[in-house]
Symmetry: C2
Subunit: 379 residues, 2 copies
């Protein structure tokens, strides 16, 4: 993937974002932005997305679509249309004929304005709606974690292959220019040979379906631990060969009680064939930093906050002295605009997404291995 | 132990340190300082130490003795007297009759000016010289790690008990007022219930006897990993009940080759009966931060650098808002003065050192469990 940092600057992004957001408040005949704030090439025709599940994450993704000429929200899938659809319909000029329920979902097949789906559902529904979307001939951009088991991930990959549609997992970190730069520095030899990682993502305020194993498939690991894990695998371009892990639940609140409860905290270690050791963790109950440190033989880089939507910072010591940087992105949709631009370009140019289904499967295999190493239930 | 922070201030310490260091440069009849910069009570008579092994650490410890009225260097034990002894003899007015070799070591029994030994030898010699010192009727202040096996630690404890002498392991972190304050904050409930730790001590430039298993008993874990491990155990006052670990050697230099080589890097996890999870690591080859983060249900504290002699800093988020602090100590002997004052007081007042042999044994048991969990050789 080309590095959008090269064609974008912070001021441009802010200016274009402001313009685009203003445009979304204009009357129905107003046009979207003519160029993307990411610097991505403008495609001949935007990719039409149906947002599947209208929770917080779909809200952010659809706002990203409003910021780029390359994506357009053309359909909605929701179980609560009366309550949730009107706001989106108004902003994106979506006719009621393009609003579906989970029962009528398969009819998207007959809607040519919907070319792709963005799946922002609870984890346990990712597989079913990816397969159904593929069978309806639609491309799929699916949120992480890809699903709740590696078997499901394989089904999703197969279904999309059979239907000849693109499948991308929404690993927003891969598309963030600051993270791309950090990865480049780490791999350049500037900190010597990479030897280790320490990371964590601890988000104590989580609630809702994430705490219900039937819907989430697991606890903090699937939701938060996946971030340092995926970032480590991505920085290295290598797959772990051994795992160690502990799970723990210390909080004695109703959040973590009952037969469908998930674990509160996971700490895990991965060893790579090269000998690199990585440790990381996640929690729904402990309030630690959101961080990843990459250690080399001659320096290190720490990203903190590492996995927030914006405001990423890195500091480090390299062979050539100290380094530091801050993400130019401001506001929630930032990384999602890059994501939308990338996926739209993959569809239009018939290229493989940088984070295809295989990337989601690799993470799921690692997470299954981590739960197994901890002696904890899997999905 | 009382908190010396309450009786000391940064300016006092600096002023007294400067005076004391100046005093050590005066002619032989000059007196030492009349009060300790730590604020410790001045004992009726300083404790007379023989420094056993004249490497870097003994140099620092003896400089600490020069800064307090409670400790005095009254003897030397070295295999290189001609080369190493004169500087110490001159500074501390030590007659040649109080300079011993490892062969004549047991004669310290007959030297009433030597009441205690400070053992700054390679790890594999700690046990032998602790036992011999105890049998000569001398109190023992021994560097960490206590020894190279739990069996040795038990021998040392038994020998000191039999001889009715004090045994203290030189865990300098326990005596640092900044660390005492951090521990107090962590245990006060200010960050809620403690749930986890992430730490590391990575010192790539290590060389010499530390890389020779026969002398060191192990690699970076015994030398550096022991710091976060001991700090975690100390903050909690709880013993780990399960372990996970990896060792790795990536550096292909002569440092880590040959039959007596030690591991380069260890990453380990400890689970406590309360459910608390701790991860930490150490390395002789990778250049990561020296750090410990304590995570609670409502905040966290990070100490970084965490285990240097001076310059410690902490930052954090508590229920009452952000906190931060910096150690007032400057220069190498800082923590060692607290250590010397504490041990001297224990001897004079016949009280148990805060870091007795049992503390060293507990660490050694944990380190043996870590090596075992990693499938690595022990001692």
């Amino acid at each position: 993937m080309k590095n959008p940092m090269k064609t974008m600057d912070r001021r441009d992004f802010a200016r274009l974002s402001a313009l685009a957001l203003a445009a979304t408040r204009l009357p129905a005949f107003a046009q979207g932005p003519s160029t993307s704030p990411t610097g991505a090439a403008t495609l001949a025709k935007p990719l039409g997305f149906a947002a599947v599940g209208l929770g917080i994450i779909s809200d952010i993704f659809t706002q990203a679509c409003a910021l780029t000429p390359n994506a357009r929200v053309t359909g909605l899938v929701t179980g609560h249309a009366a309550e949730k659809a009107p706001r989106y319909q108004q902003q994106f000029h979506i006719p009621s004929s393009s609003v579906y329920t989970y029962e009528t979902f398969d009819h998207i097949r007959d809607n040519p304005t919907i070319e792709a789906v963005y799946i922002g559902l609870p984890n346990s529904m990712h597989c079913e709606y990816t397969v159904r979307a593929a069978e309806a001939g639609k491309h799929v951009l699916c949120e992480k974690p890809m699903a709740i088991s590696s078997a499901e991930c394989r089904k999703m990959i197969d279904a999309c292959k059979r239907a000849n549609v693109k499948l991308m997992i929404a690993y927003r970190v891969h598309y963030d220019p600051t993270w791309q730069k950090i990865r480049e520095i780490a791999r350049s030899g500037a900190i010597g040979e990479i030897q280790g990682f320490q990371g964590g993502f601890y988000g104590p305020s989580m609630k809702g379906w994430r705490l219900d194993r039937k819907l989430s498939g697991g606890g903090s690991l699937l939701d938060l631990g996946i971030y340092p894990m995926n970032a480590i695998r991505w920085v290295l371009g290598e797959e772990p060969s051994a795992y160690r892990a502990f799970v723990s639940t210390m909080e004695h609140s109703p959040r973590f009680q009952g037969p469908g409860a998930v674990e509160e905290t996971v700490e895990f270690m991965m060893k790579f064939p090269s000998g690199i050791l990585a440790t990381a963790g996640s929690s729904y109950g402990m309030e630690g930093p959101c961080t990843l440190t990459i250690d080399g033989s001659h320096g290190h880089i720490r990203v903190e906050p590492a996995f927030f939507y914006t405001g990423l910072k890195y500091t480090g010591v390299t062979k050539n002295g100290p380094i530091e940087g801050v993400s130019p992105g401001k506001g929630n949709p930032y990384q999602f605009v890059f994501e939308a631009d990338h996926f739209a370009a993959c569809v239009r140019n018939n290229t493989q997404p940088a984070t295809a289904g295989e990337e989601g499967l690799a993470d799921m295999l690692a997470m299954e291995a981590i739960y197994k190493a901890a002696g904890a239930p899997i999905a």
